[in-house]
């Protein structure tokens, strides 16, 4: 941190908040709010005379409230920059600090909040995590029993420059403890936070060994459910703790009771190895509490176009293949903002994020996949009346529909899912390489012969096509009557494709994509699901049996599901029978013709339709 503070090319903005991010990869315009420190950094020499005279004391956040700080303060000794700040929530404006500062005149109460604008190429989000406050777990008595501490509070007590100069005392009476116990998974792996916080096992073992070194006679127990030591050298560390006589007791304590007379603590737990309930009297209990997302992570994420998962931590673009990237090109995530992780993992991720970022920064131009969408300004109805549907469909903020003007796509932000294309009421948007013409041509080619014996399958690129691929790779058998058309995302699936397929005689149509929440384009699947929901009813009204159209969501690993669905569909097809299909299709034709009317209005698509109709007549 100190190195970074001194680096000529690193500008550290502390005590600042992100206000707004506009633009796109390589060209972000960022607004940052700099909060007033009421101290001029250039004039302050860090003498600390102001602190001595300040009459206000508030709990010291850095020491987890075990000590106090003044209203004018530096958060901790190694803070960068080492400049004093006045906490205006605490300050009573007695101005004694101005007097003490004297000729330096470093204190300036007239400072105001300042918004600065920056031109930024790439952004790395590394906002870290918070520690869960275990007060709501009432049976552990944190906050009520003075000798129940969190692991972070213990860290401060073990710090040689901390509030107790590295000595461990019982907070209730400042006596040296004879026996301490750690409790793992407090607020983790339960109904509060479903996930494992990952690094608590190791820091507890570390702290137990520090305690062992400082106090060789101290009795130390660790209550745990599972000790997790997956990284290099961790299991060896765990063994060392056992060698040092740290007691590991498997069992999640049910409650901690406090003797009201002397503040001694009693842990009630099961000792799983013995299979019976035990009671353990100790001086201090240390709770290894869960890591949780910072409370403002969603707000910050929405400014950056970074989404949060169900746990509240930031979502990576892909859990395996793009663990650093986010849906917004040029914005990366690192460290515990993405999920709880320990130091080596955080450092590795930070390095990865900076190299991902420098890949972009080092090239004068940035190549993107050519699958982007563009708007035909002449067709866009936003000019005539307020529409903006496309803008609401794009999870990347890549389409803008300004009032009274045609919508436009910011190419650098578009990821090419095609959801806007399918939902545009005027057919004004086209996705390169997945145009209506190209897809309709595929439908026609597939159904040119014996269409009623075929099952037309639409898949997305990432998941359901992957499932088909897995089925093939695993040599899973299924009947050969299906034909696949791949789009990037099920969000691209226009209802007209389905109507057109039935219009020209398809036996069955199956639309597929990823499972909800798994979408590689965040919300594409959601829009597809919504859009396709109405299809069976419309088909039924037209005279087509609803079972001839189905929608299936599957992941890339579900080869089994794919083959099963294909088998089932094939059986359904057979059970309906060719004759009935032909009959139904004939009956539905006029209605379907109405539904694909806009295809005929598009000269390029119409050409394909007409060509096939000619062939029919000739035949």
């Amino acid at each position: 941190m100190v190195d970074a503070g001194h680096h000529p090319k690193i500008n550290v903005l502390t005590y600042s908040e992100l206000e707004e991010v506009r633009g796109f990869v390589g060209n972000f315009k960022v607004k940052v709010k700099k909060k007033p420190r009421f101290v001029i950094p250039e004039k302050c020499n860090g003498c600390g005379l102001c602190v001595d005279v300040c009459p206000i004391e508030v709990p010291n956040e850095f020491d987890e409230g075990t000590t106090t700080r003044k209203a004018i303060y530096v958060p901790f000794a190694q803070a960068v920059p080492l400049v004093y700040t006045i906490d205006m929530d605490a300050c009573i404006e007695c101005f004694k600090c101005i007097e003490a500062c004297g000729k330096l005149e470093a204190i300036d109460f007239s400072q105001k909040e300042e918004i600065i604008e920056l031109d930024i190429g790439t952004i790395i989000v590394a906002t870290g995590y918070d520690i869960y406050d275990p007060t709501p777990i009432k049976q552990y008595g944190y906050g009520r029993y003075p000798n129940v501490l969190t692991a972070l509070e213990l860290e401060r007590l073990l710090d040689e420059s901390g509030p107790t100069m590295g000595k461990l005392y019982r907070p209730s009476d400042m006596k040296a403890p004879g026996k301490v116990a750690f409790i793992q998974c407090v607020g983790s792996r339960d109904d509060i936070h479903e996930y494992c916080s990952g690094f608590c096992c190791m820091y507890t073992i570390k702290n137990s060994l520090i305690l062992r070194e400082k106090y060789p006679d101290l009795d130390i127990s660790i209550y745990y459910m599972d000790i997790r030591t997956p990284s290099k050298g961790y299991e060896e560390f765990y063994r060392r703790a056992r060698e040092e006589g740290i007691k590991f007791i498997q069992g999640k304590p049910s409650e901690i009771a406090q003797d009201p007379n002397n503040h001694n603590l009693f842990i009630y737990s099961e000792d799983l190895a013995k299979g019976k309930a035990i009671r353990d009297e100790v001086d201090i209990v240390i709770l290894s509490t869960a890591a949780e997302p910072r409370p403002d992570s969603r707000t910050l994420g929405s400014k950056l176009g970074v989404t949060s998962g169900p746990s509240g931590f930031y979502m990576e673009s892909h859990p395996k293949l793009k663990p650093i990237d986010t849906p917004t090109e040029g914005v990366f995530i690192a460290g515990s903002s993405q999920g709880p992780k320990d130091i080596p993992y955080s450092v590795a991720q930070g390095s990865a994020a900076s190299s991902r970022a420098s890949r972009i920064l080092s090239s004068p131009e940035w190549e993107i996949e050519p699958l982007i969408a563009f708007v035909d300004a002449d067709k866009c109805r936003n000019v005539r009346k307020k529409c903006g549907i496309c803008e609401t469909r794009c999870p990347y903020g890549a389409i803008i529909a300004p009032e009274g003007k045609p919508a436009y796509v910011i190419g650098a932000k578009c990821h090419g899912c095609g959801t806007c294309v399918a939902d545009c009421p005027e057919g004004a948007i086209t996705q390169l390489h997945y145009t209506d013409v190209q897809i309709v041509a595929q439908i026609h080619a597939i159904l040119r012969e014996k269409p009623e014996e075929k099952i037309l399958v639409f898949t997305c690129h990432w998941c359901s096509f992957g499932a088909a691929d897995t089925a093939g790779n695993s040599h899973l058998k299924y009947p050969p009557d299906n034909r696949i058309i791949k789009v990037m995302c099920s969000g691209r699936l226009d209802r007209k494709f389905i109507y057109e397929a039935f219009r020209i005689g398809a036996g069955m149509v199956l639309a597929s994509g990823c499972h909800p929440q798994d979408c590689h384009y965040i919300t594409g699947q959601h829009h597809a699901e919504r859009r396709l929901k109405a299809v069976p009813k419309i088909l039924e009204r037209a005279g087509i049996s609803p079972e001839r159209f189905s929608v299936k969501w599957m992941s890339a690993s579900e080869g089994q599901t794919f083959s099963k669905v294909m088998k089932e569909s094939s059986e359904t097809l057979k059970s309906i029978g060719i004759e009935r299909i032909k009959e139904e299709n004939e009956k539905a034709k006029p209605e379907l013709e109405k539904r694909i009317k806009t295809f005929r209005e598009d000269p390029d698509v119409a050409k394909i339709l007409l060509a096939d109709e000619k062939v029919d007549i000739e035949a």
Binding site: C185, D190, G251, K252, P253, Y268, E270, G275, K276, A277
Partner: protein, 168 residues
Amino acid sequence: MEIEKDLEKLIEEIGGEDFQKKVQVCYQCGTCVGGCPVAWVNENFNPRKIMLALSRGEIDEIINNDLLWFCCYCHTCLERCPQKIPVSEIIVKLKNIAAKVRGIPEGYVNELKMIAKTGRISSISSATERRREQLNLPKLVQTSVEKDIKRILKQTGTNLFLEKEIKK
């Protein structure tokens, strides 16, 4: 009518279709045991092991063990389970199954007899009446509550337990 012996049918009838599934998420942490008043005074009683046996489908093992009846239904386990498994309520259902298969403890037979006879679990003796009078409490009127109760017991098949004690 014979007491129901078909265990599988019983489990579905009393526990519901996904009876076993509800406890499959149990990761055997022992929270239920650490807070259990009965486990505290009897080291053979262990709700965690009951959940383990149930999740593995070893229900006959549970219901053939008289320890099951020791659960005092204080709900501490249900409140504290980190996986939100309603341990105490599951034990109630296991007791219901065990009752049908093996009968009920003697104390409960007596309680049931009293309920069938009077609709209440404690009788009103002349001594009670005297005491109530001394304390200026209103006289307890005997209504025909027990007729209703007998009907309920008969309809739910519980009247069969009136004589059915657990045989050692």
